[in-house]
């Protein structure tokens, strides 16, 4: 079904259309929420809040052409509200989010999947080490695929700044990835048990 039709039916209060909409966009909203949340439970609650906000404002939904950037803007606002509230009350959980979020890839052979998930996890960790602005720019531009003009409007910064910050953020991310890689290699050299565990995981057996 075309997005425009789906949106129109949701606006009219069609429950089935709304369910289809949630199923279509939940992975995307959840992914966005994980970048602002402290753990997987918080990300799920955040994603739920985003959908509730979208549902309440369904009469104001944009047309299909500009809907997705608008939806991401709404989601970001909900997440930022939550972040502000969280700053007043520090999070309870200390578990790193990337250990709770499912980053597994299921597209190729087990070996390929293992490699792909490891790389994703590495990038995800590196992403969470970035500064707030750099992380948001990577999230909106590279991950969610928004245009530079849309990001500039959303973050209230000039177009040129978005471009320069984007390049800088990508370099920062790449450096973080290399640093984490070096750290992992160091751990691996130091601990043969780690290698055995990884080999076991690759074969799908317990170490």
């Amino acid at each position: 079904m075309e997005l425009g039709t789906l949106l129109e039916r949701c606006r009219q209060g069609d429950e089935l259309a709304w369910e289809a909409f949630v199923r279509q966009y939940q992975r995307r909203i959840y992914s966005l929420a994980t970048c602002y949340a402290t753990d997987a439970d918080a990300a799920r609650d955040l994603a739920q809040d985003v959908f509730v906000r979208l549902y309440r404002t369904r009469k104001q939904w944009r047309d299909a052409a500009t809907f997705v950037p608008w939806m991401i803007r709404v989601a970001r606002n909900v997440c930022l509200d939550q972040v502000r509230a969280r700053k007043a009350r520090p999070p309870v959980s200390d578990v790193p989010a990337d250990e709770l979020v499912d980053l597994a890839a299921t597209t190729g052979s087990p070996d390929d999947d293992y490699t792909a998930s490891s790389r994703r996890r590495l990038f995800y960790r590196a992403l969470r080490k970035l500064t707030d602005l750099s992380r948001e720019i990577i999230l909106l531009k590279e991950i969610q695929g928004l245009q530079i003009e849309e990001i500039a409007g959303m973050l209230h910064i000039p177009l040129g700044t978005v471009k320069s910050r984007s390049s800088r953020a990508r370099l920062e991310l790449a450096r973080n990835v290399l640093a984490l890689q070096a750290l992992q290699r160091g751990c691996r050299v130091g601990g043969p048990a780690e290698e055995e565990r990884e080999a076991g995981a690759r074969k799908g057996t317990a170490p």
Binding site: V22, T34, F123, I143
Partner: protein, 307 residues
Amino acid sequence: MNRADCTFVDTWLDDWLAGRLPDEVAWRVEEHVRECERCRRLAAIVRDAEATHLSEASGHADLLPAVLDRTTGSPCARAEELLPALVDDELDADSREILRTHVSHCEGCSRLLAVLEESRSVLPALAELQTPASLTERVLEATSRGPQRSAFARAGLPSVASALACRWWRSVLARPRASLELAYIGTVLIVVLLGNPVAAFRGAGEQAGRLAGAVPVARLTEQLPLKEAAMGTMARLFGGLTAAANVIATEISERWRQARALISEIETTIGDAIKWLATFDLRQAIRGAEQAVQPRGQPARESQQRK
């Protein structure tokens, strides 16, 4: 012969030193060089010059860092700045070639470029993550499947009033001590509507004692064996307690019935008030009030004319 041979050696000396001559020519050159002092010295000079040249050529790679240190400094910072543009294919051909040359000789920039290129495929894959199984159900429960109309709306309040009431109610619930306050109000309401719950037990003890003592125990023990007498006493005691419980239950059910009646009366009154508000016509009310103020049998227009 000797002179002619020196010319011959001058011609083929370079090739002889490089080992490129056929054996018989090389043998003639070698024999002459062994015998001729002048050609021997010439061969030594050429050999040394080549050795010096080779060492200079091999030292060329080490020269670059020293030159860069004394001129522009390391180009890595500039190269790193341009790497994202290289990945995005935004550089012109010359800049691309120059940067590629640097990257091919610089391990650090090469690794950074590899990660940047990899990020182009890995980052978009993070746009959609596997959600927890319960997310869809929770969202639907909180939105379309959940209660659509608030209790205020169901009670017949207009939409604006219902929204305001909902907002007020949410603000009340958001208060940090809301649960304590609600518990207090609830307790007061129960006491007001049902009366003091302790009052129901007030006569229970006496009644139980009266029932249990209806048959004197002493007479029972005289007539029956001790065990049977004890069992009989226990049975009577239980009977008394049961009767007392029945009295309490009856009392509570009576109070509850009264409370229900009171609640239903309040509901009816509120419903009537809402209906009255819904049909309330302000203009008609004003007209009625004006008529009530005017003297009987005298139209409003006349009174205005007199004025």
